[in-house]
């Protein structure tokens, strides 16, 4: 079983929910084959983001992809969004089955 596991990158983006559509389009444009969105709450440099109404809500967007795509996506996020929007993005290594899918 373990012989069929492959290393891929997991890109996690936590940002204000207004950006969900924008980010989804940017991800697809730069080679991500899919993504998962969940509503998120928390606290950080922009204070409490409790999700109780639209302008105070966050989303967590996750993308599984190869390393080259992940780096390109991070560069896009850094260039287009980091300056003006509430956003955190980070990469981690994960092991997946069916590597061709990601």
């Amino acid at each position: 079983m373990s012989s069929s596991l492959h290393i891929r990158k997991l890109l996690t983006i936590i940002c204000e929910s207004t950006l969900e559509e924008d980010i989804a389009e940017a991800l697809a444009r730069h080679g991500a084959r899919g993504h998962t969105v969940t509503d998120a709450r928390g606290r950080g440099t922009h204070g409490l983001r409790d999700g109780s109404w639209s302008a105070g809500a966050n989303v967590r967007i996750e993308v599984l992809c190869d390393e080259a795509t992940a780096r390109e996506l991070l560069a896009v996020l850094e260039h287009d969004y980091f300056a003006d929007y509430y956003m955190v993005a980070f990469l981690s290594d994960v092991q997946v089955l069916r590597p061709g899918k990601f």
Binding site: E16, T18, D22, L48, A55, D84, Y85
Partner: protein
């Protein structure tokens, strides 16, 4: 001075938020309530609109629209020079104040009903019309010295936003179906309206309590603006209401529309169109100060002013 008990629910939410109660209105309920309120307000407006000739409303609408554009045009230089904000922040806040708050409008309606004052029901048309021009003007003010704007994205956000879709959709359904056609739905959309509004105000109290931290960042200049601007805009609304021949009640509703600041459509649109503007400032002012001010003091004040002005002119 007459008093509208529904705002006590707002006060309760505010207190619950301030004492950090574990009371929390789930996001889905907030969404459901706002869908209900927008649709119900649209429907009621549409039923009333069906009773008057469209041509007379169109003439009034043109005057109202032109007068309302003065609000962001006046707010922008005040915010730039007197409050000392950056161009982006001033433009974004001007757009918030030029646009309108549906809930403030609904509370004014229930205040007048309680005071036994009639108002033209078709004023919902103005609510729809005033929501978006200021947003576009705000972006133009922000971009006068260059910079990119995703106009397509902004226009889509503004016109496909749920508030426009539901208000306008409800208005058209009410207008087409008329009072008789909507009668089977009265129990839901008319009788339950005030209860739903109370629920929504409870949630708004919690939300405002959560934004109180933003107020500290706003500073005294912006705080003063957030109280003086609605009063000035309310007076402009009273003048405009008289000029187009509205009743005293209708004039109060129009003054409330002019005085209110958007905290749903405007933040979303400004985030996309003017991302460098700090949303804590605009939301802190519009939601943290102006919204409670209008609820607690503004609406009774506009009612008093309109009544005084009426007795002087007649």
């Amino acid at each position: 001075m007459p008093f509208e008990p529904v705002i006590l629910f707002f006060a309760l939410g505010l207190v619950a938020g301030v004492i950090r109660s574990d009371l929390k209105i789930p996001g889905v309920l907030y969404e459901s309530l706002s869908i209900f309120l927008l649709l119900a307000i649209g429907l009621k407006g549409g039923i009333e609109l069906a009773k008057v000739p469209l041509s007379s409303v169109a003439g009034q609408a043109a005057v109202v629209l032109a007068a309302a554009l003065l609000i962001p045009l006046a707010a922008f230089p005040v915010l730039r020079r007197l409050v000392g904000l950056s161009r982006a922040d001033a433009a974004s806040i001007a757009a918030h104040y030029g646009s309108v708050s549906v809930v403030t409008f609904a509370v004014a309606g229930s205040f007048l009903a309680r005071s036994g004052v009639d108002a033209e029901g078709y004023l919902v048309v103005f609510l729809v019309l005033l929501e978006f021009p200021a947003l576009i003007l705000g972006v133009i003010l922000a971009r006068r010295q260059g910079g990119n704007t995703q106009w397509g994205r902004l226009l889509h956000e503004v016109f496909s936003g749920k508030s426009i879709v539901l208000l306008l959709g409800g208005l058209i359904i009410g207008w087409v179906a008329g009072a008789e056609g909507i009668k089977p739905l009265d129990r839901l959309f008319i009788d339950l309206f005030k209860g739903m509004l109370a629920f929504f105000l409870l949630e708004m109290g919690l939300v405002v309590a959560g934004r109180l931290g933003d107020l500290r960042r706003a500073g005294i200049g912006l705080a003063a603006f957030a109280i003086l601007m609605p009063v000035a805009a309310g007076m402009l609304g009273i003048g405009t209401g008289f000029a187009i021949g509205l009743s005293t009640g209708g004039t109060v509703m129009l003054a409330t529309l002019f005085a209110s600041a958007s905290y749903i459509a405007a933040p979303a649109a400004m985030r996309i169109a003017v991302p460098e503007a700090n949303p804590a400032l605009s939301i802190g002012a519009a939601l943290g100060i102006t919204f409670p001010f209008n609820l607690l003091a503004g609406i009774p004040l506009y009612h008093w002013l309109a009544t005084q002005a009426r007795s002087m002119t007649s």
